[in-house]
């Protein structure tokens, strides 16, 4: 009996450890091969505090949590500059350095032999010195950790995490400071892993490097994958199967000696087979089928009204006579090595109008978009939105200034529902701040309901309300472009930069998008800059256009007059 409870405690401790990695892997998409190090930080800190300083286990666990959180936050920084495979190798290095430290820094860690005789946890005279007694402690810690993760993941904060995993650039373009989110997730993931580590230390009253090697880090990854990445209960399933099952198997006659030998083979086989046959794990991320959503009757999001955004605060009269230059570019230049992609470009967008940016392939249109929105740094020149200079500002800050862009390759968040795609774009969500999430739940809930209604309203405006619960990746290209437009509207930005919104579409879809953009501009009093190659779209939608060639603005005017200019025809159709 005691032995079974023993196994259960281990399963709980590992479930917490796996959940903490799931946060980083499943929700931010970073595969860390050094996650056991955070567990080690928790274990060793707890051991040192209780053994050498004599403080009780709560202090030991808290200290471990904070130290690991700080290390985790620091680890987020290399993840900025190091991508994918290289980041994984980086975490391997991190694990190796930490392990060596545990082995050789004898003054602190007491080396290979480890730190024995960690005082058993004690509360009001009660000693948690048997598995049965320790179980409620482990269970309580697990419940607290799972609740924290639950709250985090099923919240606006968690929604942004998923979007980061899907497409970080697209997420930044919607106004999210993704670095901040990653730092927080790494910190929390590290801290929660430390709770698991310190629990282990207090349970077996002993720490040594062997519990925090790269094999352990890999086994945690296997448990995340087996249970189901980004599924909340996945870690429990993974830990139960990979920690619990082998132990339970010991009771099978004849199996006892073989279990240890087979365990490593078993782990490896699981990794290989799961990757081929079921990479999403035992529990898939979206357990439910696509749901039908009804706009809640008490929160009627009128997409039309709300797309007016900030401008809605201005009086009607003022809006009509407002000729402020909403977007102004002065002398923008950019070269790549020897190639001058953009040469001294200046343009202004007047409020409430649709302006086109046209020109032959390779003339610098998308480069200009990237320069305006901070995805590229200009060599010279300035950009102003509503009089305020935004030159070189980070992309995520521009939504706050009222500017948002779309992408030539759409970049809808494919593994998220349409509703989530639009919701994530809603600005100023207090639920994206951890403190508000845990300490102002009522405000967060109220905002969610409002945003819910508005998001459904925007989906209704693009004609996709009935597919709100579908995953964006299952939609056709044309429908994904509609979702992307709904997403832009949801930001309530008055200035929209649209990059080839009708590329690769058939004629009917092109017509549909033209009508929609016209509606958006008129009803919401939006200012739009539009890159397009299909001149039907330019003729049907655009009031004025800038004609570019070889990185320079060659002309400006109504489409009809531009097309009557023989010099421009030469540029567009080729020289003799």
């Amino acid at each position: 009996m005691d032995y079974l409870v023993n196994i259960l405690v281990f399963v709980l401790i590992y479930a917490v450890l796996v959940q903490s990695l799931n946060l980083i892997m499943g929700y931010v998409g970073v595969i860390s091969m050094g996650h056991a190090v955070f567990s080690a930080i928790g274990a060793y800190t707890a051991a040192l505090i209780s053994v050498h300083l004599g403080y009780n286990f709560l202090i030991g666990m808290a200290a471990g949590f904070f130290l690991a959180a700080v290390v985790g936050a620091l680890l987020a920084i290399p993840s900025l500059r190091v991508r994918d495979e290289y980041l994984i190798v980086f975490t391997v290095g991190f694990q190796m350095v930490a392990y060596e430290f545990m082995l050789t820094a004898r003054g602190i860690t007491e080396g290979q032999g480890g730190i024995p005789n960690i005082p058993v946890p004690r509360l009001f005279g009660f000693e948690f010195n048997t598995p049965l007694r320790f179980f409620p402690l482990a269970f309580g810690a697990a419940v607290v950790c799972f609740c924290i993760v639950w709250r985090l993941v099923h919240s606006p904060f968690g929604r942004v995490l998923k979007a980061i995993r899907e497409d970080e650039s697209a997420c930044r373009a919607l106004g999210k400071n993704t670095l901040k989110f990653k730092v927080l997730v790494f910190a929390l993931g590290g801290g929660i892993a430390a709770i698991a580590g310190s629990s282990l230390a207090y349970f077996i009253t002993f720490v040594s490097p062997g519990s925090f090697s790269i094999e352990i880090s890999i086994s945690i990854i296997v448990m995340v994958i087996l249970g189901g990445e980004a599924n909340f209960w996945g870690p429990l399933v993974g830990a139960a199967i990979l920690v619990g099952l082998p132990e339970v198997l010991r009771f099978v006659p004849g199996a006892a000696g073989v279990v240890d030998v087979l365990r490593e083979i078993f782990y490896g086989l699981i990794l290989m087979l799961m990757m081929i046959f079921r990479p999403q794990g035992i529990l898939p991320e979206y357990a439910a089928q696509a749901k039908e959503y009804q706009i809640p009757t008490d929160v009627q999001g009128d997409g039309n009204k709300d797309s007016v955004g900030d401008e809605g605060n201005l009086s009607l009269a003022r809006r009509k006579t407002d000729t402020t230059q909403v977007l102004e570019i002065k002398g923008l230049s950019k070269s790549f090595g020897g190639l001058q992609a953009v040469k001294d470009v200046s343009l202004t967008l007047a409020s409430g109008r649709i302006t086109g940016l046209i020109g032959p392939n390779g003339c610098g249109k998308t480069t200009i978009f990237n320069l305006i929105t901070g995805f590229l740094n200009a060599d010279s020149g300035r950009v102003y939105v509503r009089g305020k200079e935004i030159t070189g500002r980070a992309p995520y800050k521009l939504v706050n200034d009222g500017l948002v862009r779309s992408w030539q390759d759409i970049r809808a968040f494919k593994d998220m529902t349409l509703l989530d795609n639009v919701l994530v774009a809603r600005p100023k969500q207090s639920g994206e701040k951890i403190l508000s999430l845990f300490f102002s739940p009522w405000q967060v809930a109220r905002e969610e309901r409002e945003n819910y209604g508005k998001a459904l309203g925007y989906l209704k405006m693009v004609g996709l309300l009935d597919k709100a619960g579908h995953l964006a990746g299952n939609l056709s290209t044309a429908e994904q472009k509609l979702v992307a437009l709904a997403r832009l509207m949801a930001t309530e930005c008055p200035v929209l930069l649209l990059d080839e919104p009708t590329a690769a579409l058939d004629m009917e879809s092109v017509e549909r998008i033209i009508k929609l953009i016209r509606n958006i501009a008129k009803q919401g009093w939006k200012t739009i800059l539009l890159i397009e190659h299909n001149l039907d779209v330019v003729r049907g939608l655009v009031e004025e256009a800038y004609f570019m060639g070889e990185g320079r603005v060659l002309a400006y005017g109504e489409p009809a007059s531009l097309m009557a200019n023989p010099k421009l025809a030469e540029v567009y159709f080729g020289i003799d």
């Binding site: 032959p360 392939n361 001149l535 159709f573």
Partner: protein, 233 residues
Amino acid sequence: MLLAVRNLEAGYGKKQILYGLTLSILPGEIVGLIGHNGAGKSTTLQSIFGLITPHQGRVIYMDRDLTFASPASKLDAGIYHLPQENFIFSDLTVTDNLEMSFFTMKDQATFESRRGEVFQFFPVLRDRKNQLAGTLSGGERRMLGIGMGLLRKPKLFLLDEPSSGLSPVAFQNVAKIIQEINSSLQTAVLLVEQNVKAAFKLSKRVYVMKAGRIILEETGAELLKRNEWWDLF
């Protein structure tokens, strides 16, 4: 009829790009294919050549149904596809590139003489035959690409925007060579081009595409007579 494409529908995965494309090419003809960016011109060439499998429709070449034939069999049949980018091996020399192109030909003995013919069309390739292809200029690379195709004496060249990345002068050279190849070897060409005027000059007939469909078929001469072509885009 050299090539007959009937009601072709194709795309990338779930994305449909071509909506019922029909065109034809007679032996020895240069046919132009123009249209706005994103209209599906490259996709058309790739579907004909078999790099993309069509969902619907037929590709009939010399009375054989090659709709689902692999690019390798299409090469053997005499079709050569030159993409807009990545059409040469940058890390190999000019000579090695030519050898690579000839590698799957059945009669290897003719390589030397064929290569000689290519060097006659493109003397600059002979001059630079030991140079790494990646260090050639844009125009020279395009010539190497066409030369690699010429080596196989195709009956139909599928050329995707041969002018892209080239200065007007460099492209003029390339255009002249396309003309020569067509007149001396009777090689048919399906020419996708952004440089519309050049396409009209080179092509006997031109198809205009918009949003995945063909909206106009006209002779190159008729189109050249016009003052402007904005309505085609």
